[in-house]
Symmetry: C2
Subunit: 318 residues, 2 copies
Amino acid sequence: MKKSLLDVIRRKKRFLVTMHAHPDPDAMGSALAMTLFLKSIGKDVRLINEDACPRWLAFMPRVKLCQKYTGRERFAPEVVVVLDCGDLERIGKVRSLVPEGALVINIDHHITNTHFGDWNDVRARYSSTAEILYQVLKNAECRFDRDIATLLYLGILTDTGSFGFDCTGPHTHEVIAELLRFGLPVSRLYQKVYETIPVGDLRGFLSLMNRLEISCGGRLAVLSMTRREADVFSRDFDVKDKVFQMLRSVKGLQVIMIAAEVGPRRTRINFRSRDGFDVARLAARFGGGGHKKASGCFLDKGLKQAREAVLSEIRKGL
Amino acid sequence: MKKSLLDVIRRKKRFLVTMHAHPDPDAMGSALAMTLFLKSIGKDVRLINEDACPRWLAFMPRVKLCQKYTGRERFAPEVVVVLDCGDLERIGKVRSLVPEGALVINIDHHITNTHFGDWNDVRARYSSTAEILYQVLKNAECRFDRDIATLLYLGILTDTGSFGFDCTGPHTHEVIAELLRFGLPVSRLYQKVYETIPVGDLRGFLSLMNRLEISCGGRLAVLSMTRREADVFSRDFDVKDKVFQMLRSVKGLQVIMIAAEVGPRRTRINFRSRDGFDVARLAARFGGGGHKKASGCFLDKGLKQAREAVLSEIRKGL
């Protein structure tokens, strides 16, 4: 019989919980839920991430348990729980806190996971790490509470694009049904996660959107953004993410491209696609990478030149 | 013991299924699912609506079963199944097809439902008529299939705002889990429902959005639209709906108002609100009505005057 997580951790005392740098709600929610569970069974546990918690996630319950890595930590964990990471590199500098001989627990849903742990629970068909963790915690006889339920809910909500991605299966909704029994304020949480345009950035966002160029018979949308244009937005506003999100509701677009000036001779390109157009392959041609529907690359060219170089490649395929 | 639907319909032969005029996916999906169920148990059933099925819902399975009312129907149903209607008026002209003495079955989730049926299944705490109908059909020993599952799924998906409204409870997700077992293509259905800006309308939509006025310290957003401005959009594009949808992602807005010119001395106003601001009461002051968070009214004034009249009322409350 497969060892359960409870067997693994029963005799250990000191735990480090961590996740990938630049945490999203699935990573942060899973890490916080795991930390709360370990605390509830009396373990000595620290939650450390390379980055501080992003401000837009500051509303998550018990978020103050998460500490930013400083390099001055004095802590020798016996067990390291790594959440939402395809490989151990993704925890970044926190790696220096993993002692030789520590037991590594790896819980993740990425198909590319390298099974780097001593104990691995990797389920690529699950929507999110939070969905797997729900099962792991249930098997470990975790006493769920409203905080843990909220944290797992937020991970699943966001990694499924509000239950709209194909990774959303019957099991996903079963887990959510269980979590909602803790009386979660559905619309308030939804707002926290998706109402993310600061009102002061709306004007700038709309005028940027107005410069969108549509071509290839309505199948291609391109937006170029100079550094000066990008700098008008407040720090917490992820303008690219909002552009992609808004264009998601436009019919017929197959490829969306954002070209953003990094320096006079350096440009960042991000792609999103639909209907089978493979932007991972497209990005790879410029030394970048990613998924079939979402990818990116850097070009050592100025904004205009980079834009033209990429467009001529896209037009070949569209 | 309460009579089940199966008892009610067992000895009847001819059924009329209908729902409110201007059907949305919950009404249309529920009516089609009910029709399929009645057909599957050998009933003579017709599905008639005052309006033709809107083009954006043409992708729904078995949608051709729905006929537009013509007034020339020769059909004397023994049972009329009314779905998603708070009162019988909402079925519009189809009312003339309801014979004296016909048994009326009323399945609905509106809190204002008048219990107009001979058999009523009204559950105001449910997210949607489709969520109730799932239970009704299950109790009636319906053999679910992929079409019925898809139809109920679409009703629940849209009436919960993709599971983001507070009407979304544990039961909602349990039902969805069951429906997804029929192998529904989640992201394709999501796209069909939410990718609703025709690419040809994008430019006009963005330039309209650019004219949005924000005031009251970022709490109020107002958009005025002349008839000429509204007429540039293609018939299938619900521009007001998209304005509201987009502004949903802006932080801090409490009231959103769209003023649309109907004629030289007539203006339609629509409101959405958040954080407890009651726009039903606001609309009522102008003879309109609706819900606390979504309402509307007509004013017998030109666009500018109507706008000013309403704004001065709003400012008293904000």
